[in-house]
Symmetry: C2
Subunit: 453 residues, 2 copies
Amino acid sequence: MDDDRTLTASQELSAAIERALAEKDLPAVTAALAPLTADEVITVLERLDAKRRALLYRLLPKTTALEVFEGLDATLQGDLVRGLQDEEVASVFAELDPDDRVALLDELPASVTTRLLHRLSPAERELTAAVLGYPAGSIGRRMSPEYVATRPGTTAGQALERVRARLSDAETVYTLPVLDDRRRLVGIVSLRDLMSADPGTPVGEILHEAYSARATDDAETAARRCADLKLLALPVVDAETRLVGILTVDDALGILEEADSEDQARIGGSEPLRRPYLSTPVRSIVRSRVVWLLVLAVGATLTVQVLEVFEDTLEQMVVLSLFIPLLIGTGGNTGNQAATTLTRALALDDVRPRDILKVLAREVRVGLSLGLLLGAVGFLFASVAYGVPIGTVVGLTLLSICTMAATVGGAMPLIGRTVRVDPAVFSNPFITTFVDATGLLVYFFIARAVLGL
Amino acid sequence: MDDDRTLTASQELSAAIERALAEKDLPAVTAALAPLTADEVITVLERLDAKRRALLYRLLPKTTALEVFEGLDATLQGDLVRGLQDEEVASVFAELDPDDRVALLDELPASVTTRLLHRLSPAERELTAAVLGYPAGSIGRRMSPEYVATRPGTTAGQALERVRARLSDAETVYTLPVLDDRRRLVGIVSLRDLMSADPGTPVGEILHEAYSARATDDAETAARRCADLKLLALPVVDAETRLVGILTVDDALGILEEADSEDQARIGGSEPLRRPYLSTPVRSIVRSRVVWLLVLAVGATLTVQVLEVFEDTLEQMVVLSLFIPLLIGTGGNTGNQAATTLTRALALDDVRPRDILKVLAREVRVGLSLGLLLGAVGFLFASVAYGVPIGTVVGLTLLSICTMAATVGGAMPLIGRTVRVDPAVFSNPFITTFVDATGLLVYFFIARAVLGL
């Protein structure tokens, strides 16, 4: 009876997995798996071939997955790990869209993760990280599983022995994560600490509190954290703070270098080049710049429309057109100053999105001060050259534009962060277009009011 | 007779140093010292008080300084080192202007340097670095003298013993510079290498080639080097490649963080804030931005002057003014894209100033391609809205402006580097102003030609 049920379930599952492999209908497999106990799953697994076994195993919830893994014999454990490393299996998970990935793939138990990532090349690791469900760009795909861990009860001398045994293959031996019995990160100890301590001292007495990153965290964020804290290595953990890997400062620096290149390019309004400048084909350079340039140019047609509205005013007073580049240029500069300052403050964690009201209050004051200064200079300059009425218009416009530009420029990066757009992308080009168009509106409204046009 | 001469020399020197302390006329001391042998200098030194002795000693040429130091007895050596660490003595050298410093202060022998910097706090080190003649902003002022060095003939086991003895006070024990008998850097060995090797292996057999920085190098350049090479520590040497200190990756990261904040601020056209944004007074924020804003605004008056020249043309065809923001905006964007790409390429050493012709050739082609694309779009857009003649003007202007802006934008950072201005400062604001003014010139020349005005 029981055997019958298992057999039927197994047949259904085999059929479901057949379909899943053909149609990639993973939710059906998950549904079929839901009612089974760990023992039942093991019975099913034992009857499948390596690839299907891996696929099915990966769709188990974390707790079941741990129980199942521990229930398998050592040979089958090894087979399963190799199956999960298989390129074909990986490709099934790599092609999942991010939402499905979150819905379908629970974390694997840390013990399985560690075995899965062990002794892989970085390229193989990147592939396998997709199986683990770590999203593209996450630190889970860049961390190394070749850490040397120790336990609080281990003595410094024993830990040193462990370091000696791993000298040739560990990513770093200078920073040792300290784990409890359930692989949870409880602290960190440096090789220097271990060498300084009496050999009999338990690691638990000399460990330090550990900073860490989540495997699903953005790689750049984790790398920045490692660099900002000036650590030689940052442990990477899963949702239950179980250790799954380590990020060394040299890898962190590599990640930051890539990220900085991208940010710089985007601040300048182009897509990053993937190769050194002189060996990138002109065609690729053009491609990296043309989209942004077109988008910004289309945005700039807004200025044409604004000016068209005021074409009559311009006809009456052509002199007003002389100040257009100066006024919108100053607005753009003021906006970019504020945006750059706040983008940097965000990156350094000096400011968070919830500080937006404080930032607005400060930037209004900064903008007003700058506007008063520049407005006064502009008033004098334009009054001398074109008379006091024009001077008044120019002065008042500078005052308004500076205040508006500083406020908008300061707020943009925070808004960008809130809606999860890279602040560097969101801010400068947007600000320039926005400030150009609204600046012209302000200019002509002031001109009409002051000059009575 | 000999005694007489020495006595006279001594009296002259004492008088000269008296004056030097009062008037800071150090060249006079240098001149008085020039004819003396090392033994004679020692005789003179022994008769002076501690501060004068330090002052005088520091003005000796390097070779004499080494001979003199080795000729002094141990007590006097210690006194001399303490004298050189004296705040009053340091202030004499700190106030030298950079040219005088280069002219007057030869390097100190590395053996003296090391003793001088030993066990000082970072603040004291910074002060003493002025005595050493390292210019402000150089890595000599930021490096740590607390390295653990070893020699090629030392065994791995002996080197490990040395590491153990220095665990509590060395800046790093993970990277050991390897020095020859004359303190010259001949390689580097990691703690990991030492632990992996058989204890009897000489360090000379397991050392690696060492990268290093000169103590007078710019701190940011040295830090960038350490980060780019992904080293845990970079040895710092004097002109004769003798080791004087070490830069660890955590200190390098601190230096880069400061430098990046400055660069970011300057790209955005403001001076860096020295404090977190929210705790910087509004007054200071205004001050950090106002100077650049004024400079750029004054630069932008160029556009007013250009437009004034073409005021008649504008009166005849007010419609031309509608495109001013779009045209100069696109020029600015194109220029900034090129400038940002080349600034980054310079920072990554993908491009050097001598590649300028290659860069120009590429950017002309990139600019032409972008100009053809945007010009075609602009032609269509403006032709539909304002007729083919205006469309032709807008299209041709976009073609010209994009070509010019990409070329100028690409060349600026290289020129900036050549004339030793930070490329980040030189490029974007300059380009915008330049492209705005010349873009308008091009626009109106094309308009006159095409429209027959």
